[in-house]
Amino acid sequence: MNTLPYFDPALMIALPLLAAFLIPLLKRASERIPKFVPLLILGFNLYESIALLPHSLQKPIVVIIAAWQPPLGINLTIGPLGNILALIISLVGFVVAVYNIKFVLEEPGEKYYMLFLLMITGATGMVLTGDLFNLFVFLEITSISAYALTAFIRDRNGAEAAFKYLLIGSISSTMILLGIALIYASTGTLNMADIAQKIGQVDSRITLAALILMIVGFGVESEIFPLNGWAPDAYSQAPTPVGAVFGGIVVKAGVYGLARVIYTIFSFQGVFHFILIMGIITLLMAEMSALRQKQIKRMLAFSSIGQMGLVLIALGLATQNAVAGGLFQMFNHALIKPLLFLSAGYLVYYSGSKDIGDLDGMGKIKPVTSFFFAFGAFALMGLPPLNGFWSKLIIISETVKSGYIVLAALALTGSIIEAVYYLRVVGRLYFKSPEEHVKTKYVHASAVVAMSILAGLALFAGLFPDVILHYLQPAARELMDKTQYIQAVIAIK
């Protein structure tokens, strides 16, 4: 692995953009080409992020763009954290792209692939960039494509969901922009490492306001409790693969932004408690809301919010192990939630209804898809030997260790609620007798391949958590100790 050659990491963003721009042209050549473009490009990204990993673990790779040193130009700072998230994003993106091959789409197909590719590129950019404003730009790329994709199925609910998403999203981006304005006004720089270095000299009232604005801004994307009104709607109305990408990628990028802001840029200690409390509230509210959800995708969306709550708890604990656990949870969730969405998408497609009540007996009719759904549900509940077990274990362990026993108990209560509603769905899949006429087509091979990859990885991560944690620990260290991050960037200067 150490010897894998790698290309300039800027290509991880440049190539997808190039490809996205070229798709209309390629479509002229053949209607079928566009659907393979994301596959190819994300495959490249996947390879690239794997090849980079050994190097970024040593020390953050600083990639200069336009030949300008950090504070002047924009640079990509690929630390372990960014690299691992990029790996997750590319991986999930790749898998979903595999799934996309046979996904039944409405016209105009090529636009779907363009938006899809750009959404993932935006997320990749977010986790790689070392520049605050650039982060904002990539956030906008992600969210604008997400708005468009939410409404991609041109039905009435899709537009409604997209509008809500857009409404909240643009308010949040305003907040971020205001925060950036404050930071720029007080430090005169936009490079994150540079800001982190200079922020100490700034009046804390300014930084506090900037922090609040940033928390609200990124909080919308990372689905913190009162800011997540858009999420259930968007998840449930978007096309299935997009829902999967929301859960697997977009949220992760949002959380990355949040983590970067609270850990690297600012250094307020109280904010961690705040994040901790928001995490538990988010978790509980989401699980409670999911409990009696009638629509399966809405339920998954709430569950996704709940999982993010768990990640926030881990981030709020602010110990290295906890953060590693949180990252592990993000990794797991990035594998499992797409798996659930993809399988649920097929189930919905076959039953012809989004209601959980109409999924009765799908276990008999669609054993493979149902199996994957059940597998995902089990993994998400944290049952050994699947991956969710370890991340939950670590997070709870650290919570108790930090003395928040009640909090741990509440988080576990959330887990129990989660188990209840997932089991109800799984129960319906397997226990109820099927309704008579449902379409009985076989699942497409591409979907099976996609889901198998995710499930296989989930199992692998569950059996060998140390392999994953080996990479996550440096990432957690990067967050906990920002000097390394700053040094890497300053050294270039």
Partner: protein
């Protein structure tokens, strides 16, 4: 009720925001010597463009601009996707008056030329790709408004779009191949304050201009088509 709530909370937010921003001195020089001042001090030598804003937009922070172009592209694509119809709707608007029509026909080429001028001289004068593109699009808007049956060739538009977007990225990639990094300025700077200066900056701005122009035009066209 909702209004009261909204006002109350907005007042709180406004109060705190204002208090915070009041800490930032208005109209004072708060430039960071390493960043903003450095742009002003050495920007002309190092990029060859006299318009520092342009040099920042296109070169120093060229990556942002690439993202920005992408955002616009996304908007256009998203609109195209959301307003997609197999059969375009027939427009049922009235023709504008003769004066408008004639005026528009005269103005249209001028506007296009102005737009081209603005983005070609982006590194010299205020303005640039976005502005130029917007001007071009406004020219097309004028034509759309004036003529009921005015049509743009979508294929050509998207060809322009693709070509421009691709060439932006390719220019960046050339920087990677022949220079040191992505988007590096590989061409000679030439003499500052002349048209052929500043290396790839004008080229990128031209690409941006074309792209913005065609994309905004496409956006306008798409939106107009949906209105009955």
């Amino acid at each position: 009720m909702r209004k009261v709530f909204a006002m109350l909370f907005l007042a709180i937010i406004g109060f705190y925001l204002f208090n915070t921003f009041a800490l930032i001195p208005f109209g004072k020089n708060k430039m960071n010597a390493d960043v903003a001042a450095s742009y002003l001090n050495s920007g002309v030598q190092k990029t060859g463009a006299v318009n520092i804003v342009t040099s920042i937009v296109v070169n120093y922070r060229g990556f942002d601009t690439l993202g920005e172009v992408t955002v616009l592209f996304l908007a256009a694509t998203g609109m195209g996707a959301l307003l997609f119809r197999k059969k375009p709707m027939q427009r049922s608007r009235q023709n504008a008056s003769v004066i408008v029509k004639t005026g528009a026909r005269i103005l249209f080429p001028l506007i296009i030329i102005l737009g081209v001028y603005v983005f070609v001289h982006g590194h010299l004068t205020p303005g640039g790709g976005f502005q130029g593109g917007a001007i071009i699009a406004s020219g097309f808007l004028l034509m759309f408004m004036s003529y009921r049956t005015y049509k743009v060739n979508h294929k050509v538009l998207s060809l322009f779009e693709t070509f421009a977007g691709t060439s932006f990225v390719l220019l960046g990639l050339f920087g990677l191949i022949w220079g040191t990094s992505f988007l590096a300025n590989i061409l000679p700077f030439g003499e500052a304050n002349t048209l052929f200066s500043a290396g790839i900056i004008p080229l990128i701005y031209i690409a941006v201009g074309i792209k913005v122009g065609s994309e905004l035009t496409a956006v306008l066209d798409t939106m107009l088509k949906t209105v009955k």
